[in-house]
Symmetry: C5
Subunit: 96 residues, 5 copies
């Protein structure tokens, strides 16, 4: 899983039927130091994260396993809201 | 999922039998600011999108889950036509 | 799916048993303008494509769905031989 | 699989229910010479690795196959703690 | 599939139980001209390849399909030992 910062919602009227009722968020991938890293992507969010949250997101076929309908055509999902990151027993990141 | 702009159709006579009747579109991946980002790719389109639409596309095994035959050898599909993108509760992208 | 130009065959005597009888081609990925884009890769070819053909190839687990034995350890397959690519209703690529 | 050095734990209170009780570690991908290579990522760890260990990690849908619940939305897992790496019958890496 | 040159074995005592008895090799990905291309990776090898062999390797969920236990958390496997590569009917690579 990689880190990302939640930006906000992405709204769509026309969508695949399996995505009706699925919350989709724009997230900015970040490196471990909190710098933006790559383009903004759209992730399914079963956790009700909000703008500014640091999250872990998962990619690929396994992302849909985070949703009620695990056969959705979704390749990115938020799976944890991060509290703290440790490196060699020191705190290096997490909730500001 | 990532953002892309729909360009047009891609026509092929010789194809895998599971792709007969599947609409395939050339799409240009874009970053969140609307700049082209990477090569043009070919995506299955169950939504009847048209040239100029901003869409979300999904990649990998889960792309075929957007099609009637979910065992098609397809690794890219359009899953939503985007109306609006919000960041920190402000509108930053979407339908022009 | 991405575009590629077919180069020729790749021959191997020692192989996984599920790959006996599977035609494998060296293909050169290309961007939409016909420029080489990335390394030559090896793709399963159920379509009998030939050197010089412009094809679409699919990657990942779904590539094997193009083969008779869908449980082959194959991560790349040719799924369509392209005739024409349109952008905004204009012809921009395809069969030379 | 790729090499990585284990950094430490990543703590999260809000998470997908399938991830309760799963140990998740921050790991730094490394090349074969032991240089950091890419961003720190978060991997499920069924092996009880510790900070400083050289590990192999696997990515994608198959990562969850290392967990008791193989339908977890996990795309990265530690699968081996490396003792030694040989190249052309010479020892080139491993446990310091 | 991509090309790689086999380097040697990677030894690990602590490993996921599904990997007991699986031969894992360090391989150096190569481009079509035989130049090293990217970091050394670790691949499952059901073919008994040896140092110096030119091989094709497959990635992702489908790699484990090359193993006796197809539910192993393995994302890279050697699937063919290459004899010859042809481009436009000329021999351009293969066994030295």
């Amino acid at each position: 899983m990689q880190f990302a910062r939640v930006l906000g919602t992405v709204v769509a009227t026309v969508k695949h039927e399996s995505l009706v009722g699925v919350r989709l968020m724009a997230i900015q991938p970040e490196d471990e130091a909190g710098n933006a890293d790559g383009d903004v992507i759209v992730a399914a969010d079963p956790l009700q994260s909000g703008p500014g949250d640091l999250v872990e997101w998962t990619t690929g076929r396994e992302a849909a396993l985070a949703l009620p309908d695990t056969y959705s055509p979704v390749d990115c999902a938020v799976v944890r809201i991060v509290d703290a990151v440790h490196s060699d027993r020191r705190l290096v990141g997490g909730r500001p």
